[in-house]
Amino acid sequence: MGFQKFARGTVAMALVMGAAAAAQAEPLKIALVETLSGPQASTGLLYRDAVKYQIGKINEAGGFGGEPVELLEFDNQGGPVGAADRVRAAISEGADVILQGSSSAVAGQVTEDVRKHNLRNAGDEVLYINLGGEAMELTGSKCHYYHFRTSPNAAIRVNTLLDGMNEAGVLGDNVYAMNQNYSWGVDVQDNTVAASDRLGFTVVEQTLHDVNKIQDFSPYVQRVQAAGADTVITGNWSNDLLLLMKAASGAGLDVRFGTAFLDQPGNIGNAGSVAEGHFLSAPFNPEVNPEETAAFMEDYKSVTGHYPSYVEPTTVFGMMLLQAALEEVEPTEDGLNAADLAVALENATAETPMGTIAMRGADHQAILPMIVQEVSKDAQYKADDTELGFVPIKVISAADAEQPVQDSCEMKRPG
């Protein structure tokens, strides 16, 4: 008898609690579809740290609709195939927003999947926030209403980098474009060539090579030397950047590298003095606006255990844009209406330690300040426990860093 009574009580209790939960808005679910295992996981895990950090901030500020925001994590295992599968899983688990950042190849897949899902499920859309896929096509031929890019793109990176180096007087007349043979690398090459008339340099040679397959870069360095280049502009990341720089230094080549991803953890530690004097254009530097930035750096460290670097600050800033948009949206009965969020995000701005960043409505590309920086011993914050770090050379305001909307973007707006 005792058990039956207990069971009945429990069932009743569960019903009451279920009803109570239904009365409240469903918590907002945000899905991070990143590379969390395998060889390329190092970057994916940085995205995760940064996303977790800012979602923590959102929840401290009251979450969404009175409920804390829930973060779901999905491992795309580094490839488009895994990503397609994980995006489906995320949507079926009720995610309203999908976050992804590492690799433009994966981003290309995710944005297409989200676009198709939204076509087939009008009224039940999901948003894709692209935290770091920087290929031009994502806000060009592949752009659509529910894709938002919060990182810079190839045009912003290359043009700010070239402007900064030109102004610092280190660009030289002969530029060599060395890039990885896929959407991002091709974009960097095209933008380098396009800027040559404006800044008055010659692109002496362009090379596209396989992605992360090459161990020995000395034959490539030999080409750079033969071409008589002063500067190498490269979008290479990870090993392709490290090995290229080391091979150039080993050959005693006197060239300066202009890069997009030199700040990846481990790069400076591994390259050591080889990296000194090379340039980087990125949306963050710890020495800009020292007061606010130091507060951000320390707070980030107290939460995650390390200073923010590489993709982390940009990701946090991107999540700030999302936070700003969420504050503008009223929760409906089923939680979040993604279409409302898209409207709010189109006009969102956020105050970051680097300055104001904003989303551009026309192609959903974030407009953000860029910092051209040089690897130097004078840096305040050292990278990888070495004596080197990144010293800001020129801060380029969001307005100056902005690049025109691509003609190829034909965005279909709802209604």
């Binding site: 060889p39 996981a41 190092s42 895990l45 043979n181 090379t207 596209l208 090579h209 396989d210 992360n212 397959k213 090459i214 161990q215 020995d216 000395s218 034959p219 490539y220 360095v221 030999q222 080409r223 030397q225 033969a226 090993n239 490290l242 090995l243 080391k246 080993g250 050959a251 005693g252 080549l253 990846q264 953890p265 481990g266 790069n267 530690g269 591994n270 050591g272 990888d384 070495t386």
Partner: protein, 313 residues
């Protein structure tokens, strides 16, 4: 002329590095019939061990001790893992070594972190050996090549001129007979596996400083090493040497070449057509360089499945 000379030299040195790693793999395969998926992991372990030892013992002692440690790991792997799986057949051995490579990679990430570590060429070895038309040639590259050549000669002499070599070679073909003659065949297998691992460890300790020491290095080199062993012929030491050099040199020459198939077609008056088609026809050789080894492997597998100098199918 200087360009080609440099390309040949670069290719040769890179080929010799490939040989250092594939020598152990082909030795183990020839001996035990085990295609060891974890072999490139020994290469990575060598680099990380040397990186760890370097501050304590200095560079020279580190690159001597690291292979010894890797040999220890190899011997343990053979004695306590592979030997138990051996009776279940090759498929199981393959799976065990594959699993092992994953475990080693994850353990490296846990201990040393996910990013490249600052294992570098020591300052006293970091100088130019000579300068040719404005390009310095790093001494360390010659040093790596030299070690590979010494290694090749040593293994060759060991296998062909010593009693140990005779026992090892006969254990490959007739293990029962060798055992019947009173030799401890499992002991021989363990020794060969350990030495194979040590060779990879030495390559890692030396090359890790020049390239990068990171948790992906096994993966990056692993594929290429398999290509070398397949092209050279499974189990053939000479074949591994020939294939390594072939792959190193073609790769290096291809990078410097702007050759396109369309250019070839221009000779027979079809250049315009090729330019229109585009795609593969107008792709520069240089952007296909890293794909060439796989193309060579395909050719070899089609034309001579046993490899350049292999005896086993």
């Amino acid at each position: 002329m200087d360009q080609i000379l440099f390309a040949l030299l670069n290719g040769t040195i890179y080929g010799l590095l490939l040989f250092m790693v594939s020598a152990g793999l082909t030795l183990i395969f020839g001996m035990m019939g085990v295609l060891n998926f974890a072999h490139a992991s020994f290469y990575m372990l060598g680099a990380y061990f040397a990186y760890t030892l370097q501050p304590l013992t200095g560079f020279w002692l580190a690159i001597i001790l690291a292979p010894v440690l890797v040999m220890g790991v190899g011997i343990l792997v053979e004695r306590f893992i592979l030997r138990h799986v051996h009776e279940h057949g090759h498929a199981h051995e393959l799976l065990v070594t594959f699993g092992l490579s994953v475990v080693i990679a994850e353990m490296i990430k846990m201990v040393y972190g996910k990013f490249a570590v600052d294992y570098r060429v020591p300052a006293e070895l970091n100088f130019a050996a000579f300068t040719l038309s404005g390009i310095d040639y790093p001494f360390y590259r010659l040093f790596m090549g030299g070690i590979a050549v010494v290694m090749f000669i040593a293994i060759y002499l060991l296998l062909t001129k010593t009693r140990v070599g005779i026992v090892v070679r006969s254990a490959i073909y007739r293990p029962q007979m060798v055992e019947a003659l009173g030799h401890n065949v499992p002991m021989v297998f363990m020794g060969v596996f350990g030495i194979g691992a040590a060779l990879a460890g030495l390559a890692g300790a030396v090359a890790g400083a020049f390239y990068t020491t990171n948790p992906n290095m096994a993966l990056e080199l692993g594929v290429m090493v398999f290509v070398v062993v397949v092209v050279g012929g499974l189990g053939s030491m000479g074949g591994a040497m020939a294939a390594s050099l072939l792959i190193g040199i073609t790769n290096s020459l291809a990078v410097g070449s702007d050759f396109r198939i369309a250019d070839l077609l221009t000779w027979i008056g079809m250049g315009g057509w090729a330019e229109e088609i585009g795609g593969m026809l107008t792709m520069r050789m240089s952007s296909l360089a890293a794909t060439l080894p796989f193309f060579i492997m395909l050719l070899v597998l089609v034309l001579r499945p046993s490899g350049l100098m292999g005896e086993k199918e």
